[in-house]
Symmetry: C2
Subunit: 305 residues, 2 copies
């Protein structure tokens, strides 16, 4: 047997947005900018910096415009932002971003709870959001949330995800994201999903994975074997809700990068520098994060067991 | 592409030994017996219950004989113990176990620090241990520790591991274990190791994996693709040294079982019942463990993110 993996992969850092959005401790804009500069110095080339949502509902993202106004000049680095409606898309455009990330949930129940929209209504809205993005000169990444399962509805039928994907592709999106919003995906399911989606997608496909059940990197590994080369990740494994025990976050950027580099998939990222960001934010939040490598102060020294 | 995986796999529970050996809080024999009964009720069919080592060096294992004397009658369940020398093998035999687990480190430096033996001396000792086991009527599992790397020596040359494996096989062992004692293995390395070792091994091969760098389950996934069906695991991801931050433990039994079952590899184990053991020992040790699933009180309900 041979383990066939691509030579290179891209990491999209989502710690500033997905990682922080549920944290009760508000991180100052200056700290976010420090982190962004450190991430760029670590070699990260795509950072999702904020979401353009209601600041009363998500206070951590209230500084989206202020943050975007101060983003460093970094040739070759893409800054993107998340939007949940047309107003958010327009705010992202006005803030000077190049890319907006939009999404639609494959779970009707989750869509109603999270966005206040039925799946049918959300499908209509997403078309308006893509049009708004075009009008602002933004490229569009469109994601399917809860593509691998929903805590309310359980397993999501694969053909429903495929129908949503096909709808998104007809809108002329620039990139497709499949999101395992709740860390329910398993490697077999990932393989089945990619078998169904990759032949249909004429645009780059990115995976957004959480590690709630410890399968995050196993899903990365299978996706690599299928040729996927784009992954969201958050430094320290930030994400999830700190008030709910066990609601762990995104796959950790440094752990993901380390695995990729170890198996010969180049990322251009120095995971040790990303781990410094994780230690910084761990101190700011005064809690341990789910990531593994940021806790190891120096390698290969350490304890044998 | 197709994700080819075996239909079934065996889990060897090592939490009572590898999981507890470095914990400063001594777990009473009665609690260990409660855990053993619960693990059996969960469907676990092989439990490494203790190590027969110097009780002054490893106080947590001082009750090895007392524990073995009280083991429940459980048809079809294998209880095994670890030994580091001939005396330990004889103690395991006298305690009434059916199997002894012995090992040799692929790292000369680790061997000297851990067992006080050079690699050459350890190779001689292991032959004496296998003979002693035969004399006691014990089956022998022999493991190569630090097969995937050593915190002192870094990468271990693959051909050194292969030479040790060939030496062990000439001794007539019943089972071979490859141990990633420090969680340094990556999936590519695992593939290369299995490519080299599996064609030589005429006995079952078990993997002993730690999750120090978050790659534990990715290594399980690759090994499954190579046809390996035997894995050590510890409930809650116990193991490592609680005094050293980030020195995380074995792959967590419940997380491993869940992944296996989710991808269609039957284990016969109910991970929810294993997770109850993890919650019990987490309370006894008054600390959070590295495992993921034991923290999720109920699935699929929970928080969306």
């Amino acid at each position: 047997m041979e383990l066939r993996l691509p030579a290179q992969a891209d990491i999209i850092e989502v710690g500033l947005r997905d990682g922080l959005q549920s944290e009760p401790t508000i991180i100052p804009t200056a700290t976010k900018l420090t982190l962004i500069r450190q991430l760029i110095a670590a070699g990260v080339r795509h950072i999702q910096v904020a979401s353009f949502v209601n600041p009363r509902r998500v206070p951590q993202m209230a500084d989206a415009e202020a943050l975007c106004a101060e983003l460093p000049s970094a040739p070759g680095v893409i800054f993107s932002g998340l939007a949940l409606n047309v107003r958010g898309v327009e705010r992202a455009g006005a803030a000077g971003l190049r890319q907006v990330d939009i999404g639609i949930s494959a779970s009707d129940t989750h869509s109603r709870k999270n966005a206040g929209l039925s799946l049918a209504a959300a499908l209509e809205q997403v078309a308006a959001m893509v049009s708004a993005a075009r009008a602002c000169g933004l490229t569009v990444r469109a994601g399917v949330q809860c593509a691998f399962g929903c805590v309310y509805e359980g397993m999501i039928p694969l053909d429903r995800v495929v129908r949503i994907v096909e709808h998104l592709l007809t809108l002329g999106i620039n990139e497709l994201a499949l999101a395992d919003s709740t860390g329910m995906a398993n490697p077999r399911q990932m393989a089945d999903m990619l078998d169904a989606v990759l032949p249909r997608a004429q645009v780059p496909v990115t995976l957004h994975l959480h590690d709630t059940r410890g399968m995050g990197l196993t899903n990365v590994l299978v996706a690599l074997q299928y040729g996927v080369t784009r992954f969201d990740a958050a430094f320290g494994g930030l994400g999830g809700c700190p008030f709910i025990a066990g609601a762990t976050g995104n796959i950790a950027t440094e752990d993901t990068v380390n695995m990729l580099e170890q198996v010969g998939v180049a990322t251009g990222i120095d995971w040790r520098k990303v781990a410094e960001c994780s230690r910084l934010i761990s101190a700011c939040l005064a809690r341990e994060l789910p990531g593994k490598l940021y806790r190891l102060q120096a390698l290969p020294s350490g304890h044998m067991h």
